[in-house]
């Protein structure tokens, strides 16, 4: 740091608790109006707490300053490329935010009578129709609120369906390239996991699958295209193998962005798929959520859908249908993340059929452009054609003791959020880059230029890369300390 800067007001912000001062206030409530009764008469003293010790006392000014300053410590998609592979960080249109805030949606209560919320029910019904068309599947549940929640929902349905036919079976097959939620969800649904080895293309060989599908296997959970961005070209044959053994094909639809409007899961023989609406359908990530993870199912799984379903009557009115005796049950209180669903449907309508197809086309074009520009500079562990994302490794840099983590951190100095790193696990030192369709060529070029510059630096000035980042609000953190001596809350 230079002398000029040592004087600068520290960029980092105290905790809101450290801003607290007795007597400050950040709120005003309306007048009580009703005659005040003696508290003891309403609520026995033993049930009441004393003051909320150590809670803050700050003004509205303190709060707005605090969160404005905190916000400035974040990077975001609105400010630039955020190429986290598998996360589909695309443009989040503002109209979606506006529509979701319509008072008739925002102030509607989840337990209102059906006749009072016909608008909401029609919206949910319409979204289901839209997802049915996108999936090519006959029904979709909107209850799950995230991808992992959708996975659990889907596998619970598989379990129930198999149980109904006499044997729930024991195993879910999951390729070694899969996301961690897949095995975790399968386990929570009551299954054990059998991992499938990927072949040299990063995909699953039919022979491997064939060998693995025993009578004890309930389903294959597979990501299409997989986490390398490579499409499982033999997906229909896979479905046939599974179906022949009475097993199901579950598709992790996190990567739907690469083929929406180009091909449909239902046409591939897929029985269950979730879609992360916060990825393909652009509902904002919000620093880690909320999301939504609707699940589409083939005919045979319809009886097991969560209840209630949204149905349309002859007379054009809508209702919630609880009469599904074989349903797995309710996945969450109320009606899913309704106001995430509102955003997603707005987005689907803004795109229309032409726009939805263009998403996939341009997302794949952008990723392949990055791949073409960087493949001379970074090792491509799997060179099969990839769709919407590309996975490099740090193999060319490790001889200089520069690792994926260093490259990621150094990218920050160039003003970019790093890609996903060290995932998928089948690539050692993975750099998983997903630009999405909403990046202009200039931004891709600037990113590639930065990556190439870092490749050069790694050879010529590796210590510069190893000690990155240099220009961020904080520099590299002691993550081990955080885990070893966890400090998980402020204390006075």
């Amino acid at each position: 740091m230079t002398e000029e800067q040592t004087q600068q007001k520290t960029a980092l912000e105290p905790l809101i608790f450290e801003r607290s001062k007795s007597g400050r206030r950040g709120y005003q409530l309306p007048d009580l109006e009703v005659p005040e009764q003696d508290l003891d008469a309403i609520l026995p003293a033993g049930l009441r707490r004393s003051e909320i010790q150590d809670e803050v006392e700050v003004s509205e000014v303190d709060v707005i300053r605090h969160f404005t300053r905190l916000s400035k410590l974040n990077v975001s998609i609105d400010a630039g490329l955020y190429p986290l592979g598998s996360c589909t960080m695309k443009h989040n249109p503002r109209i979606n935010e506006e529509i979701a805030r319509t008072p008739g949606f925002a102030q509607s209560h989840p337990l209102q009578a059906e006749h009072q919320v016909q608008g909401n029910l029609e919206l949910l019904w319409t979204l289901e129709q839209t997802l049915k068309e996108i999936f090519g599947l006959p029904r979709v549940t909107l209850q799950p609120v995230a991808g992992a929640h959708g996975e659990l929902t889907g596998i619970l349905m598989v379990h129930k369906a198999l149980s109904k036919s006499g044997n729930a079976r024991k195993y879910i097959l999951i390729p070694d390239s899969a996301h961690g939620t897949n095995p975790a969800s399968a386990a929570f649904a009551g299954y054990e996991i059998r991992e499938l080895k990927s072949n040299s293309r990063g995909t699953v060989d039919l022979s491997t699958l064939e060998a693995a599908v025993t009578e004890d296997v309930a389903a294959l959970m597979i990501t299409v295209p997989n986490t390398l961005g490579v499409f499982e070209s033999e997906i229909k044959a896979m479905a046939d193998i599974l179906h022949a053994k009475g097993a199901y094909l579950y598709c992790d639809g996190a990567n739907l962005n690469s083929f929406v409007g180009i091909a449909r899961p239902g046409d591939m023989g897929i029985d269950v798929i979730h879609s992360n609406l916060h990825k393909t359908f652009s509902t904002p990530h919000g620093g880690g959520g909320p999301g939504a993870g609707p699940v589409g199912v083939s005919e045979s799984l319809i009886p097991y859908l969560p209840t209630p379903t949204v149905e349309k009557r002859e007379d054009g009115t809508f209702y919630l249908d609880y009469s599904h005796p074989d349903s797995i049950g309710r996945m969450r209180a109320f009606n899913g993340n309704f106001n995430v669903l509102v955003r997603a449907l707005t987005y689907m309508r803004s795109m229309g059929p032409t726009g939805l197809r263009r998403i996939a086309q341009m997302a794949v074009l952008n990723a392949n452009y990055i791949r073409a520009r960087l493949k001379k500079h970074y090792h491509l562990p799997y060179d099969a054609p990839s769709l919407h994302e590309v996975v490099f490794s740090d193999k060319l840099q490790t001889p200089k003791d520069v690792h994926t983590l260093d490259i990621a951190k150094r990218l920050m100095d160039f003003g970019f959020h790093p890609p996903t790193i060290y995932f998928p696990l089948i690539v050692s030192g993975a750099l998983m880059i997903e630009p999405t369709e909403s990046e202009p060529k200039e931004e891709l070029d600037a990113f590639c230029d930065a990556m190439i510059a870092i490749a050069h630096e790694s050879q010529e000035r590796p210590e510069l890369v190893r000690s990155a980042p240099h220009t961020t609000p904080v520099r590299r953190l002691d993550e081990a300390r955080a885990a070893r001596q966890p400090v998980l809350r402020w204390k006075p």
Binding site: H66, A146, P284, G286, P418
Partner: protein, 463 residues
């Protein structure tokens, strides 16, 4: 229908910058002559030969028209006086919050995997975790869970993992019925047995039955205020459940401003729904589930945790930590499958808790209490109206009339009042009961009119 040519200027879309010229330049670099060539790994026989059969693309004008048209067909708290609660409450929503949530830096960031460029999100979560601890009297809070119902599921699973050889959980029947249903869904293949314990005349959990049910159980969960609006006696519950992992469920988070914190009464886990902290009801979601546990349980916690550390220059900073609990490391053996959670809603809650602060949280709770007490008194004076449970309440109560709840509520709706939630669909034998919620937003006039309208509705039915 023929498929559009992506390089045609008419194919340009406002959300997708690259157009004709860019596309050609990029294809050149890639070394293929069309975008279609990039999709050759998708077999032709699964490729669509047509566009999807869907409306659009719509302009914002058309979207506004259609969606606002739908919203206008709802009858909601936006144009009625609402007394609906049951796990979703209309509290004061400070104007600051919604506008701050629109800041790109919060709205359009991902999970803070890269702490150097995500301190804003991380520090806010750390603060949010702290608020949870202060409010519940417990030690370690996570970054968020999907909602109150799934938070309870996670708590049950956590509790089960703690004890070897026991697979029975005791649940108060007065827990929010949706929460109970969700737990049943979650545990259906996990060999866990549920025993439900009902309530007594005061609406509180039946302590005798509770004590009886504990045998062989690994844990117990009660909700307070419960679904009947009644505040449970934590001490009594704790005494009746010696040796069990105790879970407290909070469906009305503002109640923590005045009710005694579960951590002070032998509870090990507190889970709940944070919606009441200024989040709009929005037809049920997104909300924010929370979980706070005793120190000893922290490595069993599901979901994200943010911890404090330092950077290489010794500067204080925050980071996701104890990740070995999580699915991306532990995979099939993780404490939970949760990944995406409800970060933005937790941020909103953090802002709410900070704005209200020590005094405000107490005043909100006190107003709820006082206004509910006022209404309760008023209702007591109405002929043919009964308040079936006489335990202490916070801001909700059950009303009983001689008529089906739906009939009475339909009458109130004509007066532009959303008068309550019928209990019949949740509990047999309660067809004439409904649940009424009051918050600080109700004026005295609202409460007086409610009582009058209810009284009139009953009279009309009697005729």
């Amino acid at each position: 229908m023929t498929l559009p040519d992506p390089t045609d200027p008419k194919s340009s879309h406002r959300y997708i910058p690259n157009a004709g010229e860019d596309i050609r330049e990029m294809l050149d670099v890639i070394g293929v002559d069309s975008i279609d060539r990039l999709f050759e790994t998708i077999p032709d026989d699964v490729k669509l030969r047509e566009l999807l059969d869907l409306p659009g693309p719509w302009s914002e004008v058309e979207s506004r028209r259609w969606f606002r048209g739908l919203a206008a067909r709802n009858k909601t708290g936006a144009d009625h006086v609402s007394f609906l609660g049951g796990g979703a409450y209309a509290h004061y929503q400070p104007a600051v919050i919604d506008q701050m949530l629109l800041r790109s830096e919060f709205l359009t960031a991902y999970t803070p995997y890269q702490p150097e460029v995500s301190q804003g999100t991380l520090q806010s979560i750390f603060e949010y975790q702290t608020h949870q601890c202060l409010l519940t009297g417990l030690d370690v809070a996570n970054a968020s869970l999907y909602d109150g119902s799934t938070a309870l599921c996670e708590a049950v699973l956590l509790a089960e993992r703690l004890v070897k050889g026991k697979h029975k959980i005791v649940l108060a029947k007065s827990i929010h019925p949706h929460y109970l249903q969700t737990v049943r869904t979650y545990i259906q293949n996990l060999g866990i047995e549920i025993v439900e314990v009902g309530w007594g005349a005061d609406g509180r959990i039946d302590l005798g039955a509770l004590r009886a049910a504990t045998d062989g159980a690994f844990g117990v969960a009660v909700q307070s205020p419960n679904f009947l609006g009644v505040v449970e006696d934590y001490e009594a519950v704790a005494q009746a459940t010696e040796g069990l992992t105790r879970i407290s469920v909070i469906a009305e988070a503002t109640s923590l401003g005045i009710l005694t914190p579960p951590g002070q009464h032998g509870f090990d886990i507190c889970v709940g729904e944070g919606q009441a902290w200024g989040i709009p009801p929005q037809f049920g979601g997104p909300y924010v589930g929370f979980m706070v546990v005793r120190e000893a349980l922290k490595r069993h916690m599901p979901g994200r945790l943010v911890g404090e550390t330092v950077d290489v220059d010794g500067r204080r900073a925050y980071v996701l930590t104890l990740a070995t609990r999580e699915q991306h490391i532990r995979r099939g053996k993780a404490t939970s499958n949760i990944c995406t959670n409800e970060a933005l809603i937790a941020l909103a809650a953090n802002m709410y808790l900070s704005l209200m602060g020590k005094e405000g949280l107490r005043e909100v709770a006190t107003q709820c209490l006082q206004k509910t007490a006022y209404l309760r008194n008023k209702l007591r004076g109405i002929a043919s109206l009964e308040l079936p449970f006489d335990g202490p309440v916070y801001n909700e109560l059950v009303v009983r009339t001689p008529f089906p709840a739906e009939t009475i509520l339909a009458d109130l709706e004509e007066q532009k009042i959303l008068g309550g939630i019928p209990l019949g669909p949740f509990h047999d034998g309660h067809e004439n009961d409904f649940l009424v919620a009051v918050t600080e937003l109700h004026t005295k006039e609202n409460l007086d009119q409610y009582a009058a309208a209810l009284s009139a509705a009953i009279s009309r039915e009697r005729r």
